[in-house]
Symmetry: C2
Subunit: 218 residues, 2 copies
């Protein structure tokens, strides 16, 4: 019985990592669709989202069954409740990727406003935060997770800078308004992806240290 | 022992409803701060958010303790896992109220763009959705929850209409740009509040019918 439960937990972890890999791919493809002005790829991100939705429901269902049948305590219980939160965060990151893909399709209907520099930079930060929070999970490194949390501020700052810059653009030349609004929206989506990565990192600290550190940096 | 556990579940429900009441109040005050141009009230919404953060952590901690000590099954297990999701949704609604309060403070620095009509209308819909999803919880009415889910579309539509209207305003008169951006942001926050109310309604259907209906309407 013990051995079987260990295997179920290992399967759960594997499913989470599969979902995480899929999420990272959606974000990467949404950004590629934006930068390379690729409508077909944008549509793929939109279509793929159903897989993430399905994975979320499957993982949560598995977690509730484990809670009911195995009645876990201590670390196993923390792992299972954390898994339910993590699946939700990953699904929400996927939704942000879909939003970016939609904005990319709208931006592709007009000429390029200017070479994209700040958005790929923001994206690199946000993607790094997702990646490292997942590494903190896989390699049981709560300190890496704590370090991810600190990086959220940088993405917020980049978002505010970009918001100001794009506002100036709009005021100078009203022809750029719809493009600037779409770019603002992408920056906002990236800022929220970084927020979700921060939530994941907080969950990882909770998993490995048993401490709930949410809302301490607000 | 059984009796004591029933009391613990009743306490948990009471805490959730207390948190829900507080959340509804924050949303109402943020909108009042916007409509009545009341900076002091906007600051109060911002300050009060710490209470919601604290309630979320307390409720989740209580849930995990109940899972560990009581090892519930069936309906009780569903109730406890739903409670953890609900506290998260309420906390996120509170964050949206804080965003609205911040936008109100920025809007108060400039003259009124035009009388606010559409935003209070959107707000009424979003607040009604929170209220009814909580009623569905209190009075065990999954059908009311299903009806709330259908109303989300209306709020999305109002948000898109307002986005288009405000974009036209900006193009016609660039002096209105910063005000229009703040109003767009408020509309977006209301749209997200309606999304969270939809999530709550889905959780309530799950609680009372045992069916996970998330992502079916996307």
């Amino acid at each position: 019985m013990e051995r079987h439960f260990d295997q179920e937990l290992a399967d759960l972890k594997e499913n989470l990592l599969r979902m995480a890999g899929f999420t990272e791919q959606s974000v990467a493809q949404a950004l590629k669709a934006l930068v390379q002005r690729d409508d077909a790829l944008a549509k793929k991100v939109d279509a793929d989202d159903a897989t993430l939705d399905k994975l979320e429901i499957e993982i949560d269902d598995r977690c509730i069954k484990l809670l009911a049948l195995r009645q876990p305590t201590a670390t196993d219980l923390r792992f299972i409740t954390m898994a339910m939160r993590l699946s939700g965060e990953l699904e929400r990151i996927g939704d942000q990727a879909v939003n970016i893909a939609h904005r990319a399709e709208e931006l592709n209907r007009e000429p390029l406003l200017k070479p994209l520099v700040d958005i790929p930079r923001m994206a690199e930060h946000a993607q790094g935060m997702i990646h490292d929070s997942l590494d903190a999970f896989v390699y049981a490194k709560p300190n890496l997770a704590r370090e991810v949390i600190k990086r959220d501020e940088k993405v917020d700052l980049l978002n505010r800078q970009l918001h100001r810059e794009l506002t100036s653009f709009m005021i100078e030349d009203p022809h750029t308004i719809t493009r600037c609004l779409n770019l603002m929206s992408v920056a906002h989506n990236l800022e929220r992806i970084a927020d979700h990565a921060t939530n994941i990192a907080e969950d990882i600290v909770y998993l490995y240290e048993g401490r709930d550190i949410r809302h301490q940096n607000e």
